[in-house]
Symmetry: C2
Subunit: 229 residues, 2 copies
């Protein structure tokens, strides 16, 4: 039983009626995860739909080679585990807290009941799915770019479009990613990422800060696409 006000903060439930809101607040749970804490594991059965209210989660797989590939950085407002719940498959990847997280958890049965009882949420779900598809599609495009430099540039630009905050020519991307995580997103080794990012830092194109990246020369960053190291 949680505060209905919390529910109103979740975009997909924001326009529910009072009754639905009440119903949800009865059945839902809040969970907290500290940075680095696992949320679920690949292969687990999916028992809950988890919606990030605060913080950030990382969805990733570890290949046999030990290489980690990052399927997505999930921002607050988005759900994880939802697809598995919808199609009844086991979880296809791991998730962990990428920042301290507050998560809104709906049990599988509750989730499905919600869908049946309140068809209005179905449309929010579809909207969410299409958003996620777009981000996956962009990821595919990024990974298809030739040259690690191009891929990193694309990655930063897509973050820039999604959650960047423009300030006098520069764009702030408030996502903290380690070099290794960038490597996991663009399909490259950490050393390669470091070499490229260091150069960009020296050249004043992109600066790495504690809380994310500052793209100081968006135009120059864009030029990096389609040319070698």
């Amino acid at each position: 039983m949680i505060d209905p006000d919390e529910i109103r903060k979740i975009p997909r439930f924001a326009n529910l009626g009072l009754e639905e809101m009440q119903w949800l607040s009865d059945k839902a749970l809040l969970r907290h995860y500290k940075l680095g804490e696992p949320i679920f594991f690949e292969g687990d059965e999916c028992t809950h739909c988890l919606i990030i209210i605060q913080g950030e989660a990382k969805v990733f797989k570890v290949l046999e080679s030990g290489r980690e590939i990052i399927l997505g950085i999930i921002q607050s407002g988005e759900a994880i585990g939802e697809v598995s719940l919808l199609d009844g498959t086991h979880l296809p990847a791991n998730a962990m807290a990428h920042k301290d997280c507050t998560v809104f958890a709906l049990e599988r049965e509750v989730y499905h009941k919600l869908l049946k009882k309140y068809p209005a949420v179905v449309h929010s779900i579809i909207r969410d799915l299409t958003l996620r598809m777009r981000s996956l599609r962009i990821r595919v495009e990024t990974l298809s770019e030739q040259g690690v430099q191009s891929r990193i540039s694309q990655l930063l630009q897509s973050f820039s479009r999604e959650i960047g905050r423009s300030t006098s020519g520069s764009v702030m991307v408030p996502v903290r990613l380690s070099r290794g995580e960038i490597a996991g997103m663009v399909g490259a080794r950490i050393e390669t990422v470091i070499r490229i990012m260091s150069r960009w830092q020296k050249e004043g194109i992109v600066e790495t800060l504690d809380n994310g990246f500052l793209i100081k020369e968006p135009a120059k960053l864009a030029e990096m696409v389609g040319q070698g190291d």
Copy 2:
């Protein structure tokens, strides 16, 4: 106005009631595309939901560099343009007939009316979206593999799982892909793909046929993952 029997062949509409079926057959159109014919272009407004009844479509983008990246090979029963219709964005990629195609076309307004009138189809749509998400996720994983050889191996294996037909140890993948198209799916150059596929052909691991690929040694193909050229 088309034959209701055609509609029953479409998985997502197969369990509609008579009334819905009739309604659809009134409003829907059938279209034909010859191999190689464009179906729509990136940036176009999305006016129809197109469901492949027969044949195969290729969804792809062309990067500035001229490189073609293939987002998906759409099999019969699946829809294209649906996501854009759902979230109201312009089409994010091109589509063309990859074989001669028969396509079931629903106008945007009809499609949305259908969703409103018959909530049952909403669930088919969600199932479709989750399937497409899975295939995109697998594509991301494939592209993240290091080494072109690994990626091609992964690609063939995923086709094998999705539409492969097992026969006495071998697996037939009934999808005709040119070397260039494989290159477009794994993010590599055509020459590299040729060299690898030729070697596999010589070694009796995978054979290229007119109508697809014959994976003669699935185990050996799987071993190709995670090791260099």
